[in-house]
Amino acid sequence: MIRSNRLDAITLGVIQSGLQQICNEMDLAFVRSAFSPVITEGQDRSDGIYHRETGELIAQGDFGLPIFVGTMQETTQSVIAAARDPEPGDIYVVNDPYLGGTHLMDVKFVKPFFYNGRLFHWLANTGHWPDIGGAVAGGYSAQATEIEQEGLRLPPVRLFKKGVLDEEILSIVLSNIRVAEERRGDIKAHVAALAVGERRLTSLLDRYGVDLVEEAIVELKSRASQQMRSKLALIPDGVYESETFVDSDGIDPDPLAVRLSIEKSNGELTFDLSGSSPPCRGPMNSVISTTRSAIYLAMKHIFPDVPMNAGIFEPLRIKEPHGTFLYAVYPRPVSGCSAEVSQRITEAVFDALVAAIPDRLFAASAGTCGNMGIGGLNPETGKRYVMYYFTGGGYGGSTEIDGMSNGCSVTGISKMMPIEILEQQFPVIFEEFSLAENSAGAGRRRGGFGVRYAIRLKSDALVSFVMDHGRYGPPGANGGQPAAVNRVEIERSGQIYVPPHLSKDQNVSLRGGDVVRVQTPGGGGFGNPLEREPSLVERDVGRGYLSEQQAVAQYGVAFTPMGAIDVERTRSLRNAIDQHNQE
């Protein structure tokens, strides 16, 4: 076989998969040794290789959380700017959202990688820590008004110097976060993954030589850009617009608008968010790195097979939306950006592009992580606990198929915790975990369904949650209907409490016996519901997904008293609805 020292297409491909393999092995090493279940079960981490001078993404692991697609290169850029004379064995830790971050819980480790005594490129990883201090256990504040209330903020700090852990810096970190002793394990996992990256990258360079690999990195970037451009060629030139809404910021009642205009010309897309709402007082601001990352990951959802490499970002021009809540500056609180606001941005991208390439797209998904934290004293162990919980919701319908039920957030790829484990570890009892009937948006291909659950507390606790789509359901596309909204209802001493901000609240004080009930949104419908095959509506009614009355109202499908489709009435109903819609 060809084993030359020149860069032919085959060697290029082999080096590309070699770089990818290195990142995958880092992902694996990280998740297998991490302590935090958010990382081990939730897969809430990412690993990659970043450019020596520009910090640009060279390769990123396949198993990382999607929201980190674009953020770590900005983190690395901030480390490059701060680092003076990096040395082998140094590792920087940083979580500052304004310096290329997300929320404070995402802690990044960035390490200069040296080969034969020369800085080659940077290795970096991100892991979501279960707590980072601040007002709310778990970090998802609904009411913070400045970042200091959200937790400990770390600028790029050299935690390891020439391979030696700086215990003094570590002690500052551990003194400012909850359940601190377990974080030592996560720090070791961050470091172990970077060490795997170093070992594997060294052997790749041993095999192919620095020059050839450098040449390949340059070439791979330009080819990735070419690949993204060939995908973008599917989109006709023109301007595509959309508008999506965050319920509120947790402080002020008004909705926040994401207003997006995408212009396709010269083979590139230009994203303009400048018409969006101004910065908000509560924690629903987004830092620019997260805003950009949301756009990148939305495009990767549309074209999943483009590689993870800075080249794919090149034909995607993002105007900096200064003066909006999507470009937060210090000290704006941002704890909702990574989990919620980012999803509204992806929703805007999808919604705008449906008109351009309907066959590749889909209606909006539930679009909320459904994050909830319950904290208190566990009477069985006598210890404080923090139960972090999230669920999925419905996905949107698409040209061919209905949306999936209880899919995970657009930005994540996390498995929810089993109820049996939660009940073992925390003083709670689940009363229900069900499919939320009639939560899907109607359409020729309907959305998937959300989830309905109820948690009864065994003892007093504080409950906080940051969700979204409580005011407006996920929109449909191509004539499809929106899905049902997110609902939170708390049964407190027999009284029903509905949070004023619907999907967000913080430190709601509850007693043993109180019940928290949540219903997550379904997915939007795709296409005209009147075009849905009556047999599919009949099947859905049979499964109890919706009632016969709802089938009549949403789909114009009527049933005989025996439960069969009433063909005649269905036809006349559909005609009548159709006419009504046209008027």
Binding site: I419, E423, F433
Partner: protein
């Protein structure tokens, strides 16, 4: 059932028969006969029994009055993957009937929001009854028996054939499930009642729910198949009863196997691994990685100290976890039929699309037009165009060359032969990477193992992979294409049970662990003792699964019989942890999650030497011809050996090709080959290539 006497002194007749996707393989071993009879016939997918009976016919008139018939079948796997399953109902805890449909919040792939998932049991057939037990095993709400009976009536009205009972926390306190099972079995018209804790007594409601619904779904089709086959075998006076392979690598009799139908899913790959373990151990290789490469995919498994690794968290497809003990087989999406193509960036890719059996590779002449790994092997002289297994209308090699030149060579500016080498290089690189990740994710270093290739295409690629991964030795069994059938012949009987412990190691005592192990062992032995096959002796494998408090991944720690000393367990866990993850966690608090006991009922050993090829001494007659074959160095005039002419003790050196009916073996230049006493080819990387590999690591 009366036990069949082991007639070791007189004539013994054993048949192992494995039904694969393409071929049904059979091995007939007779004590006293010089060589076993090997049969390969096409699989009959609509009713696998036809192929089995045809294989028996071809095995000859001696293959009657068998002492044992051991069968590997894909009936349950296919039923599941093609959703040709029984109509099932679910009876479950009030408030939780949708657990099976909601799964555990993910999506099939990280990118792409168009996704599909269908539960095994449709929503209208999932019925809730009032009952609730908490995590400590306390009854919060008693079982409402009237509701239960109404639920059974409702399911019968819905024409449900098979029913699953699944209550929350039944692993902790199975009282409600037991009582419900008693009532349902009293009312149900057939034996198809599957109960959660009986199938899997571990926490995680989704995984246990899936396990019990898989069992309910495949029990009726398995039962029907086994009964029909048994009848056919009996009426043809072949054998009265049969043993069925399970995914844990053991066998159970037809009468028992239906109850744990879920454990026969994945039995195909497991039997191959069992044969590999048996063969490699006899040849002196206790630690091997198996590499079973077929047309569309490749199965990889790890054998450590002669035992296949067992996993309790395999996933058959998206959101279909099987958390019952199975041989830990990892499937890589690359096989001989994987298609080569050029992506938008102008880079050559191989897979994941496969040409499958139809239309298949270009060279199969079934209409395939896309170049595959098999086509590249053919063009490069690695495969003999005259010996393509099961190909009736081969396409001339020149046409294959032309096609590869057009589709791959042209766009890349390469000649057709260069394009073919590029396909192999990319494919081997991809497979080596996947193999590495598989081993690393299980905490192993490839260099500590020997490679054991089998399946039609395994031995074609293995020597390159061994070199890429720094694997020092490779063992190619006598019959690579018959490995699964051999697995049936050599498999022992086996019964697994898993008990949830869920306690801090520091607060556990060895006596209580010992007591659980003893009970598991006694129950397993009692089940196996009812089997018809003669058991020479029993042995137990105890494995404790531990994790640090707050973590979620468990590590298995093997425990020697009756040696549950807490300090030793702690030490072994700490050692295993630091070996696996490269870090120590002295501040961690170990928790014993589960205790897993496998009871093995050992059968009499089969002499593998009878499987080897004829015993001629090495001579030039084994060299059948030579042809031009492409290696890294370029075209080499390469000797072609016939496997059945290579006698015990024969040696040869690469480059070489060894051909036999069921596969082709490629020996890279510089590799040394020796035929061992069992007819295995032992291939060693020479020192320079090993050094090269070490450098690569």
């Amino acid at each position: 059932m009366t036990s069949i006497q082991w007639k070791s002194e007189i004539l013994m007749k054993i048949v192992g028969c494995d039904v694969g996707g393409t071929f049904t393989d059979l091995i007939f071993v007779q004590s006293g006969a010089s060589a076993p009879t090997l049969v390969k016939v096409p699989t009959t997918p609509d009713n696998q029994a036809f192929g089995v009976m045809r294989a028996l016919t071809e095995a000859g008139s001696d293959a009657r009055g068998l002492d044992l018939f051991i069968h590997g079948t894909t009936v349950t796997t296919n039923a599941l993957l093609e959703r040709k399953i029984a109509r099932c109902g679910l009876i479950t805890t009030k408030g939780f009937r949708d657990i099976l449909e909601l799964g555990r919040r993910t999506r099939p792939s990280a990118y792409g929001m168009i996704a599909k998932f269908e539960p095994l049991i449709s929503r209208e057939c999932r019925i809730e009854v009032e009952e609730r037990i908490d995590a400590a095993g306390n009854t919060l709400r008693p079982l409402n028996e009237n509701e239960l009976k109404a639920a059974v009536q409702r399911l019968l009205q819905l024409n449900v054939e098979s029913v699953a009972i699944h209550f929350l926390h039944s692993y902790r306190n199975p009282a409600h499930e037991r009582r419900a099972a008693e009532i349902v079995r009293g009312m149900w018209p057939n034996p198809y009642v599957s109960v959660g804790h009986e199938i899997m007594s571990e926490f995680r409601e989704y995984e246990r729910g899936v396990a019990v619904s898989i069992n309910a779904s495949v029990q009726p089709p398995l039962d029907r198949y086994v009964n029909a086959l048994q009848k056919a075998l009996g009426s043809n006076k072949i054998v009265d009863d049969l043993l069925v392979m399970q995914g844990n690598g053991g066998t159970l009799s037809s009468s028992t196997v239906g109850k744990s139908a879920v454990s026969t899913v994945m039995s195909g790959p497991a039997s191959g691994v069992i044969a590999a373990a048996y063969t490699a151990k006899a040849a002196g290789f206790p630690n091997v990685v198996t590499y079973d490469m077929g047309g569309t995919s490749t199965d990889v498994a790890v054998i450590e100290a002669g035992l296949p690794l067992i996993s309790t968290d395999l996933e058959i497809e998206y959101a279909m976890p099987i958390h019952v003990p199975m041989v830990d087989v990892h499937t890589i999406g690359a096989g001989g039929g994987s298609i080569a193509w050029i992506d938008e960036a102008g880079l050559l890719r191989v897979g994941p699309r496969s040409a499958g059996a139809i239309p298949g590779p270009i060279c199969f002449g079934r209409g395939g037009e896309a170049p595959t790994i098999t086509d590249a092997n053919l063009v490069l002289g690695r495969l003999n165009p005259e010996q393509l297994t099961g190909v009736e209308h081969p396409v001339p090699v020149s046409s294959v060359i032309e096609r590869i030149g057009e589709t791959i060579g042209g766009p890349l500016g390469l000649s057709a032969h260069e394009a073919a080498t590029a396909i192999l290089r990319v494919a081997n690189d991809k497979m080596a990477g996947a193999l590495r990740l598989t081993l690393l994710s299980r905490g192993y270093d490839p260099r500590d193992f020997a490679l054991f290739p089998f399946g039609g295409a395994g031995p074609l690629h293995a020597s390159v992979l061994a070199r890429e991964l720094g694997i020092p030795k490779m063992i190619v069994p006598a019959r690579p294409g018959m490995t699964n059938a051999l697995g049936c012949v050599v498999a022992d009987l086996r019964q697994d049970s898993v008990t949830t412990v869920n306690a801090h190691l520091a607060k556990t005592d060895s006596a209580s662990l010992q007591a659980i192990a003893q009970q598991q062992s006694a129950e397993g032995q009692a089940i196996l003792a009812r089997e018809s096959a003669e058991i020479v002796r029993f042995s137990d494998i105890h494995t404790l699964y531990l994790q640090y408090e707050g973590q979620t991944h468990r590590l298995p720690i093997k425990i020697a019989p009756r040696d549950f000393e807490i300090a030793k367990i702690r030490h072994a866990f700490e050692l295993a942890y630091s070996q696996r993850f490269g870090i120590a966690v002295p501040e961690g608090n170990p928790v014993v999650v589960t205790l897993h006991t496998a009871v093995i009922g050992h059968r009499k050993k089969i002499d593998l030497k009878s499987l080897s090829h004829s015993r001629q001494s090495p001579s030039s007659s084994s060299l059948s011809s030579s042809r031009r074959v492409w290696f890294d160095q370029g075209w080499c005039d390469t000797p072609i050996y016939r496997r059945d002419h290579l006698g015990i003790g024969a040696t040869l050196q690469g480059p070489a090709i060894v051909e036999q009916l069921d596969c082709t073996i490629v020996i890279e230049p510089g590799q040394d080959v020796r035929v061992d006493d069992f007819g295995n080819l032992i291939v060693e990387l020479n020192e320079t290539t090993q050094e090269e590999a070490a450098r690569v690591q």
